[in-house]
């Protein structure tokens, strides 16, 4: 009997945070359903959410890795635009879009590597340093692009367009890719050396170092992964809208961060949940769109976003404080 208890308590130790954010998501759906059933059954509400969710997933899930490693990054919101700019500019100049895609993602990884190296080598605060990079990169984009957007209608005729963001019998392909990304990240975080080392490093970096884990390398790789996710999100969005615009990505900064923490990943490192983050994204996306759909004014959106972040944090508090 006591044996069962230990399995149960271990189960909750591992999955409690993910279950918590699933719970909040269900609760939110129920509230919407009761509050505005007619808006709820309209399919276009869910369609709008599904357009928004993949981008947010590409941004949020890699952040779970980074936060679990004990760091944070804000610069991803600008990396998003830099990668999209590289992609759009090259497409406009007649480069094959598949190559542009690869170069755009490479750009994201390179920025992540630079930000990570800067923070790790000089022992900077990742919050403040990445805030600096956030502004710096945005400035670079505005200067390089002369604050002008780039339209790339031609991308539609290339094979990557239907494959990545096309419509497959009414089903947007980016949802499929986001789902693949989530499954990949789930295994990468929980069953792969990369994810396991991230958890050790974020939990106690001194212990990890003593056991022969290269702490700096692990952290830099986590920053690179955030850069890659941001690049994918930026390029996908640019393809969907056929447009790069210099301010893009900024709106996702706080939403993606909110999704990480609403999803149940604690800020202190060592723990993280991919499944929780997916539902965190769901909560944020439905908040953004649902409030408008039920006919309330946009002002309520900010209010409810704030409310749900606080309530979720209070709820996740039930999973206890950091164990030392």
């Amino acid at each position: 009997m006591s044996n069962n208890n230990s399995y149960l308590s271990n189960y909750f130790h591992r999955n409690g945070r993910a279950l918590g954010s699933i719970g909040y998501f269900v609760l939110l759906m129920v509230i919407f359903l009761i509050g505005a059933p007619e808006a709820w059954i309209r399919p276009n509400l869910h369609q709008s959410v599904f357009v928004m969710m993949p981008t947010l997933i590409f941004l949020t899930i890699p952040l779970v890795f980074l936060v679990a490693s004990g760091e944070i990054d804000l610069s991803f919101a600008s990396t998003y635009a830099v990668a999209a700019y590289v992609f759009a500019l090259l497409v406009k100049n007649g480069v094959d879009p598949a190559i542009c895609l690869a170069l755009g993602i490479f750009t994201g990884a390179a920025i992540g590597a630079l930000v990570g190296t800067l923070i790790v080598v000089f022992r900077l605060s990742s919050l403040v340093a990445s805030l600096g990079v956030l502004f710096l990169l945005r400035g670079v984009i505005l200067l390089l692009s002369n604050s002008r957007s780039i339209t790339i209608m031609e991308v539609e005729n290339h094979w990557i367009y239907p494959l990545l963001v096309g419509n497959f019998y009414g089903f947007p392909m980016q949802i499929f890719w986001a789902a693949i990304f989530v499954i990949f990240c789930y295994y990468f975080f929980n069953k792969h050396v990369f994810g396991i080392h991230i958890q050790h490093v974020g939990d106690n970096s001194v212990s990890a170092e003593q056991m022969g884990i290269n702490v700096n390398a692990v952290k830099i790789k986590a920053f690179m992964f955030v850069g890659v996710g941001a690049a994918i999100g930026g390029i996908f969005t640019t393809m969907i809208t056929y447009t790069f615009f210099p301010t893009q990505g900024f709106g996702y900064l706080l939403l993606a961060l909110a999704a990480v923490f609403v999803g149940g990943t604690p800020y202190w490192g060592g723990l993280g949940t991919i499944i929780g983050a997916v539902f965190g994204v769901g909560i944020i996306a439905y908040m953004e769109i649902g409030i408008i759909a039920i006919g309330w004014s946009g002002e309520w959106r900010q209010f409810f976003n704030g409310l749900i972040i606080l309530l979720a944090l209070l709820g996740h508090r039930l999973h206890g404080e950091r164990v030392r």
Binding site: S6, Y7, K191, H200, M211
Partner: protein, 248 residues
């Protein structure tokens, strides 16, 4: 007798402070070496250099007679040296199994982890080191364990990796009598299987009981080495220690 590891005139500085000054030390196969010295004598620095957490500023490290370059913690573990650190080197939010395999996970190709195998081995190990509580299994978080149990996990890690040299840094600190006895039994078992132990301790009686040879460290220098045969009581060791420390 084969030397498992040898430090040859190793110096380690932190800023302007010389924490280790031309220290030489070797551990041969099948022996238990006790490292003793006062607080601040450099025991910790010596250990951390020996196991690759610090790299030496001067001097050489030889593994089985061969000089190694770019010494680090991973290389030390790959050379068969496992350490039970004073702080246990655990990650308390992670499970026992993750801690036992930290840094040396059992892997499939491409870095995926053999989870089931790890859990099976971890459950076997925690029985072996005498965890009897049914509330604890391989997937329990380390943060729920007592100090002695955490020490057990750190030791289980060293057992699993079948190290040729196990370094125990203040292993009996904060342990009950019963738990201390378990550590001693463990050391004797390692010795019996013709492997080596480097035992660091404050408590002269503990070190005396368990060691075949003693190395006395003071102000970063190895000031005296003697065999157990040379003395007959811990008091004698204490006296030698008192006379050598500060006298050089």
């Amino acid at each position: 007798m084969e030397n498992i590891i040898e430090l040859d005139n190793v110096t380690k500085r932190f800023g302007g402070i010389t924490a280790l000054n031309k220290a030489s030390l070797k551990v041969t196969r099948g022996e238990v070496v006790g490292l003793i010295g006062d607080n601040g004598a450099g025991k910790s620095t010596l250990i951390k250099t020996l196991v690759g957490v610090y790299s030496p500023d001067e001097g050489d490290i030889l593994i089985r007679g061969k000089k190694v370059n770019a010494w680090n913690a991973l290389k030390a573990r790959e050379s068969g040296i496992e350490t039970v650190f004073q702080d246990r080197a655990l990650t308390p939010q992670q499970s026992i199994v993750k801690n036992i395999f930290m840094g040396k996970e059992l892997r499939y190709p491409f870095g995926f982890i053999k989870e089931k195998e790890q859990i099976f081995e971890a459950n076997r190990l925690i029985r072996e080191i005498g965890f009897t509580s049914k509330l604890i299994n391989a997937e329990s978080p380390v943060g729920n364990l007592s100090g002695g149990e955490r020490q057990g996990v750190a030791i289980a890690r060293a057992i699993y990796n079948k190290a040729e040299l196990i370094v125990l840094d203040e292993p009996t600190n904060n342990l009950s009598l019963n738990e201390t006895q378990k550590v001693f039994d463990f050391v004797l078992n390692v010795k019996k299987s013709n492997r080596s132990v480097l035992f660091i301790g404050h408590n002269i009686y503990h070190v005396y009981d368990i060691s075949d040879r003693f190395v006395i460290l003071d102000r970063g220098e190895v000031v005296h080495q003697l065999n157990k045969n040379d003395i007959s009581t811990p008091e004698e060791l204490m006296k030698i220690m008192r006379n050598t420390i500060g006298a050089h």
